[in-house]
Symmetry: C2
Amino acid sequence: MARASIPVTKIAKEAGVSPATVSRVLKHPELVQGKTRILIENAIKNAGYDLEALVKQNSNNSNNVIMVILPTIENPFYNNILKGIKTSATAHGFPVIIYTGNIDSKNLSNLLFVSKKTCVGGIICLGRKLELPIANAIEEEIPLVQCCEYNKDASSVYVSINDYLAAKNATNHILNLNYRRIAFINGPISYNYAQERLRGFEAALAEREVTIPPNWKISLPEVSYSLGLSAASQLLGTDDRPDAIFCAADVFALSVIKAANRYGLNVPRDIGVVGFDNIEVASIAVPSITTINQPAFQIGFTAGETMFERIRDPEAKPSPILLDTELISRDSIIPFHRKVKLS
Amino acid sequence: MARASIPVTKIAKEAGVSPATVSRVLKHPELVQGKTRILIENAIKNAGYDLEALVKQNSNNSNNVIMVILPTIENPFYNNILKGIKTSATAHGFPVIIYTGNIDSKNLSNLLFVSKKTCVGGIICLGRKLELPIANAIEEEIPLVQCCEYNKDASSVYVSINDYLAAKNATNHILNLNYRRIAFINGPISYNYAQERLRGFEAALAEREVTIPPNWKISLPEVSYSLGLSAASQLLGTDDRPDAIFCAADVFALSVIKAANRYGLNVPRDIGVVGFDNIEVASIAVPSITTINQPAFQIGFTAGETMFERIRDPEAKPSPILLDTELISRDSIIPFHRKVKLS
């Protein structure tokens, strides 16, 4: 293995590139082009090593794998993202393995050790936002692409959506349907997406000078049906209830429909509901759920392609990518004035 | 690595054990006890190798990982099984990685190569039934536990449920509620579970001498909402429709509720629905779904524990385990005679 046999860090310093690029030249010289490769090859020769022998020794270990880090497989939203990543990886001939769990300072060194041994050529991190030192420690060793959640300050690239705009659009849609008493059920506020969606929700309300009770902005510690059900029951179980609920996840929207049903309330007649994600069950639910579609497959595919750009040229600094979302109008919300006429 | 440095197969033959056991003694001598270990140690010494040096060299590579093979992460039923596997693996200090995709003769050698390089200490195969030569080829190299789906003829152990009995119980429940016009929406018949559930469904009907039109027994090529929706629409779109539908997956049961809604039919008033799996959304659906609960967490945990038995003692042949299921009665089906009175 490269690190054991030659001083990669020293050579990287001499060539003015990252250690990852030196490893890349040793494993896949054909993928690193132009000036960078010449600089490294010279640095290796100057250090007295036999370049050809090193390449031969290292490329035997080049059975590269893309590792996807997922905090949990429970959120159905990840399905299509993984499909997109797999489609990209398969096209490049790389198998994909999934590591479930969060990466923290305790298991980081173990992850990096396993990654090196497992021929991991790149890590795509989905789910929880990485701490800055952790993101940078991974990036130092292995190309990293942050997907969905991201740490803006990390040196690694990210692929995500514009959550602020998406949530603002969804809230505007509700306001345009003439609702003013709107609650918001959000995910864990430690997540980037939850912060941005809250910001978008608040901005849309502020622009129309709509104010709501502070306890109508709920942030739950997890995206789960059961937590959504408690939150929705709390909102709907009083006389002073909202007329519409914007949910930062379709999972919560399904919970709201369930809670409404328990209180004898009808969606959309008594309560308008808007979700987020457009998971498969959003269209199967009765009523079907108006939601924000995330281009999940495209997010995954783009993350994969960005990864292969990084693998091909570790010195390149690709720009972050924020993909567009769209509102899908279904049956879970109708204009507010139409309800008044109906009742 | 053991195979490169000593003739594992030859030594295994001499000691009368499997190659996996020899590798185990080299990697984790402390885990292999008694006679087996002495036999192997003698065979290694007789072959002229320095046992201590070999163990030292090999145990450096013992950063073991459990690999779970999943055909797809899309079926939410796998969530709790994975949780169970992870709980067991974490207790034994092994990280879990997931490989998504099917294992066939084309990618088998690549999988085994990657597994060896990635310090995989055991493979738990979920999802599709393995072909016999493939199951045996894996077992030859790495301990294998088949989980949910299994090939009875393979030499590796399996952990699953009694699908035949579960489906028979579900069908009897429907018959006891006085339904006679019962349809069945099943998964791909190439799967073990689909064959067994069909057998259970048919046995229950036969015992009561109930016959149904042959086209009411539907086998779909995939467990998906959209396929379920087409099948249910076909069943419900005629005047000669069934009064109850038994679904081999809750995903299909949700599709039936949706299709009924489209035709202006009410579940459970006009159509009784029973699902299978007890995925989380089954209790959140409106109406909530009567279903067969699979002890998913326990299946996963048992598969994990069985794996660690195998790792600890590769010569042991643990027995297959079939866990019990139970019927969870919810709102998607009511007694048939009560409906008649209501209408």
